[in-house]
């Protein structure tokens, strides 16, 4: 088996220059989101963030589930996996553990991540694997044309709750904090500059980063739209919030009314599973290691069977 290096040399490929602007992170496909969709701001912020961090496209794996926002990897110049509905986190976990040198960024929506994939969020948080998870939270199911989501507010009328939602919305931030995520933030897609900083810090953070992003659906959610958010958004950094104080972080995350906070709610330096795992200790990604058993390993296994 040849290595990538020799493959590249063999066929004389050297396609990639270092990115010179965020535009170099534009993908093959033009986004098919609705005009004015909040997700454009998220894609824009992500492209700026990786550019500013000096990461090259081949060093990134963007993993998504299914939904409008999960189409993002196709619009982003990096390795990508557009996986099953709700399953981006386990796929990303496997990919990160298989090659822990990759910057693995996970993108998706509130239905994908907090609904069908909710179980994985809890466990990915406690596992504290070094992923950066961007959830474009629009409080609605957009791709299926407007049903209630796990973050839709109580009483909200949607196609599947025509008489109003009876259920309480999930709070992804307090859930993530309580379950052990080590970088928990919220952004707003209309504030690209602020969101870019959150994403940069999330990528640089060694552990599981959840960045929940208000990314309004202009087509199916007329309840929580830009008009709703604009006057309410407050930045935690302006409030003097201390991100190491997880209890204060939870309180701020619960605020929902005239003031709704964005920024970094909680961060701590608990080691990530990929840094704790002895199997990765020698630094070489699992995917690049020789296959099979050494003679010594083989005879040891057999001797224990005797």
């Amino acid at each position: 088996m040849s290595t990538a290096q020799s493959t590249t040399e063999m066929i004389g490929l050297e396609l990639v220059r270092s990115p010179t602007s965020p535009r170099d992170f534009k993908g093959k496909v033009t986004p098919d989101w609705c005009k004015g969709c909040g997700d454009f701001g998220v894609l824009n912020a992500l492209q700026r963030a990786v550019f500013q961090l000096g990461i090259k496209p081949h060093e990134i794996l963007a993993v998504s589930g299914i939904g409008c926002s999960s189409n993002l990897p196709g619009f982003f110049n990096a390795y990508g996996m557009h996986t099953l509905h709700g399953r981006s986190l386990p796929v990303a976990t496997g990919a990160k553990l298989g090659n822990h040198q990759l910057n693995v960024i996970v993108t998706g929506g509130d239905g994908d991540g907090y609904g069908i994939g909710g179980n994985h969020l809890m466990h990915t948080a406690r596992r504290n694997i070094d992923l950066t998870y961007l959830v474009m939270n629009n409080q609605i199911y957009g791709l299926t044309t407007g049903q209630v989501s796990p973050t839709s507010r109580t009483d909200m009328k949607t196609k599947s709750t025509p008489f109003g939602n009876l259920e309480l919305p999930i709070n992804p931030l307090t859930s993530a904090i309580m379950n052990g995520a080590t970088y928990v933030a919220r952004g707003y897609s209309a504030d690209v500059k602020h969101l870019t900083e959150l994403i940069k810090n999330g990528i640089e953070h060694k552990g599981f980063s959840l960045i929940d992003i208000f990314s309004p659906c202009v087509t199916f959610n007329h309840d929580q739209d830009f008009v709703f958010f604009k006057p309410r958004i407050r930045k935690l950094e302006d409030e003097g919030h201390d991100p190491s104080d997880w209890k204060a972080g939870c309180e701020k995350a619960m605020a929902w009314g005239d003031e709704i906070y964005i920024g970094l709610f909680h961060e701590n330096d608990r080691p990530s599973i990929d840094s704790l795992e002895p199997v990765l200790a020698d630094g070489i990604p699992l995917a690049r290691r020789p296959l099979g058993l050494s003679s010594e390993q083989g005879s040891k296994l057999v001797s224990r069977m005797m």
Partner: protein, 593 residues
């Protein structure tokens, strides 16, 4: 008949918590070191304390293919064992039991009772499990094995626990041995010695070790009987072998993690049972669509639903065939025994790497949880590894297409992390470059091209999988067809039939997909009478055979009570069906466990 004629089946019965595993392990180790072949089946229940466990250990001095037909030496650790099994023992068999606490009811003719006065023999010992050690001594004397052999095995097993424990156990075993020697008639054939020591493993450890040898670097699982042994082996050896092992929140997570690790270039595997496999199946289709090679193991137990977690069945064939929506490419293979299971893992990894698709191994409780001897020289520790078109010859024009529409259908694969080959894979239908053709613009011609490209891969690679062949005389009176784990028991049944003057041959099916319909049809069409043997109610394989070949068998031998076939079940089934011409024979399970 073997060299010395040794064919001895020992059964140890008691309740969960009575420590059956320890004498079982000592016996297996002792017999293996002596070079004797062993096939052990443990009948148990989903309970931590109580219930009835019966560990059946059959030994021969030649290969042994099933747990046999009866019990020659029964060790009763409780009254319940005596009550359940005494009546089925035949002449010449021996029953060892603690006469302080256990009494036999009506003793069948010719059965030799070997009561042990345990409280007298144990003296001052307060160890409640010491009756197990005493009975090992008695059993060794019955088999005319020199005491030093047992002493050595006890020292090995209890060595870690310190000299006091070793001394107590050796002394108690000695007391049992001497008592047995003085009081009971030993078996007429003393326990022979084989040519060389044999290794012992379970089918689950064979599957796990097969993965390690094949280069598995990532293993994920959610515990589920009877597949959990694979997880335990992997977890135990992970650090030595450099394998990432993760216990995940559910089987959906398991399968998707495996896909993530496989996509970045690891050989990745997972094992579960039917219920867990049901949760994995959406991911199986995702692996096929994204063209990511990965191996999924389903260790079958009796279903449906939670079913009977500790009992065996071959009931998940159609689940494997129907695992995930849509038409897609995958291999499905049912190994026939533990060594075959070991070899199958590397073989399947090579196929799925070459065809860039998922592969499914169907095992069952009988193979996976059974303990078997294996000649260590037959374990290929360094199987051939063929990763297919991984990191070789990507598109030379500099425009890398992950799903290049090649003649073979195989598109050279470059995992994430390499410069110059950036691409996106998708579970949506996609074009050669990975761009999805499912949302904004669907395209019938591109869709057809993609479907056909993936199909060509499997056709090409499948050509290297050999068709099954007929074992035994061509012109046999009856042809027995089985799949997977029934291989051994059918083989033994055929030997027994031949002793009764019935000439039978055997078509053992291992590969479900690719299924060699033409070859199978040719063999069966020229057979005189075809009977299908399978461990399920509805004849899942018979139905599959008919769907693939149009061939309908003459009769069926089916068992679906949770217990595996014993050879005489099949012999009686063949004799009955040959005479009665009935369609189906269902044997009665005499040993109630």
């Amino acid at each position: 008949m073997s060299a010395s004629g040794l064919d001895l089946t020992i059964a140890i019965g008691g309740a969960a918590g009575q420590g059956i595993a320890t004498p079982g392990n000592i016996l297996a180790r002792l017999f293996g070191r002596r070079g004797l072949h062993l096939y052990a089946y443990n009948a148990y229940q989903s309970i931590i304390r109580g219930g009835h466990i019966l560990l059946t250990v059959r030994i021969r001095d030649e290969e042994v293919h099933s747990h046999g037909d009866g019990i020659d030496l029964l060790l009763c650790l409780n009254q319940d064992t005596m009550d359940r099994h005494l009546e089925i023992l035949g002449p010449g068999s021996r029953v060892v039991y603690n006469s302080d606490t256990i009494q036999p009811a009506e003793v069948p003719d010719g059965v030799l009772l070997c009561p042990m006065p345990v409280s007298e023999l144990m003296g001052d010992s307060k160890n409640k499990l010491i009756q197990n050690t005493i009975s090992l001594g008695v059993m060794m004397s019955l088999m005319s094995v020199d005491f030093s052999v047992l002493q050595e095995a006890l020292e090995l097993l209890f060595g870690r626990k310190g000299s006091a424990v070793v001394e107590e156990n050796v002394a108690m075993a000695r007391a049992g041995y001497d008592y047995g020697d003085a009081s009971f008639e030993s078996f007429p054939v003393p326990l022979p010695e084989g040519d060389k020591p044999l290794a012992m493993w379970t089918g689950n450890s064979a599957l796990a070790m097969g993965g390690a040898a094949a280069g598995v670097k990532f293993y994920a699982a959610y515990p589920m009987s009877p597949s959990t042994g694979v997880l335990h082996w992997m977890a135990q050896n992970a650090r030595d072998l450099g394998i990432m092992v993760r216990q995940v929140e559910d089987e959906i997570g398991v399968a998707n993690m495996v896909i993530g690790a496989a996509h970045v270039g690891c050989r990745a595997m997972c094992a579960t049972s039917g219920g867990g496999f049901a949760l994995m199946t959406e991911a199986v289709g995702a692996a096929a669509m994204m063209e990511i090679p990965a191996v999924f193991i389903n260790v079958m137990r009796a279903g449906p639903s939670t079913g009977v977690p500790t009992k065996t069945e071959q009931g998940d064939l159609w689940q494997a065939l129907g695992a995930s929506q849509g038409d897609f490419e995958r291999f499905i293979v049912a190994p026939k025994n533990s060594l075959d299971a070991y070899n199958t893992v590397a073989e399947l990894f090579n196929l799925v790497d070459r065809a860039q698709c998922p592969g499914i191994i169907i095992s069952d409780l009988l193979i996976s949880e059974g303990t078997f001897s294996v000649d260590p020289d037959l374990i290929d520790l360094h199987p051939a590894i063929d990763r297919g078109a991984l990191l070789v010859d990507p598109s030379p024009d500099g425009n890398y297409l992950r799903y290049a529409n090649t003649e073979s259908g195989i598109s050279p694969r470059v995992p994430p992390g390499y410069e110059g080959f950036v691409h996106v894979v998708a579970t949506d239908e996609h074009d050669e470059d990975g761009v999805i053709i499912s949302d904004e613009f669907t395209h019938p011609h591109k869709r057809r091209t993609s479907v056909e490209k993936r199909a060509r891969k499997l056709e090409g690679v499948s050509a290297d999988v050999l068709p099954p062949t007929l074992e035994g005389p061509q012109d046999a009176q009856v042809t027995l067809v089985g799949w997977g784990s029934t291989y051994g028991v059918i083989r033994e049944a055929i030997e027994m039939l031949s002793e009764q003057g019935v000439v039978a041959n055997h078509l053992a099916i291992k590969w479900i997909v690719p299924f060699h319909g033409e070859a199978v049809d040719e063999i069966l069409s020229s057979a005189k009478r075809v009977l299908i043997v399978e461990n399920n109610y509805s004849g899942q394989f018979a139905r599959y055979l008919r769907s693939e070949t149009g061939f309908s068998a003459n009769g069926h031998i089916r068992k679906y009570d949770g217990e595996p076939f014993m050879p005489h079940h099949i012999v009686e089934g063949v004799l009955d069906l040959l005479q009665s011409r009935a369609a189906i024979y269902v044997p009665d399970q005499e040993i109630i466990v």
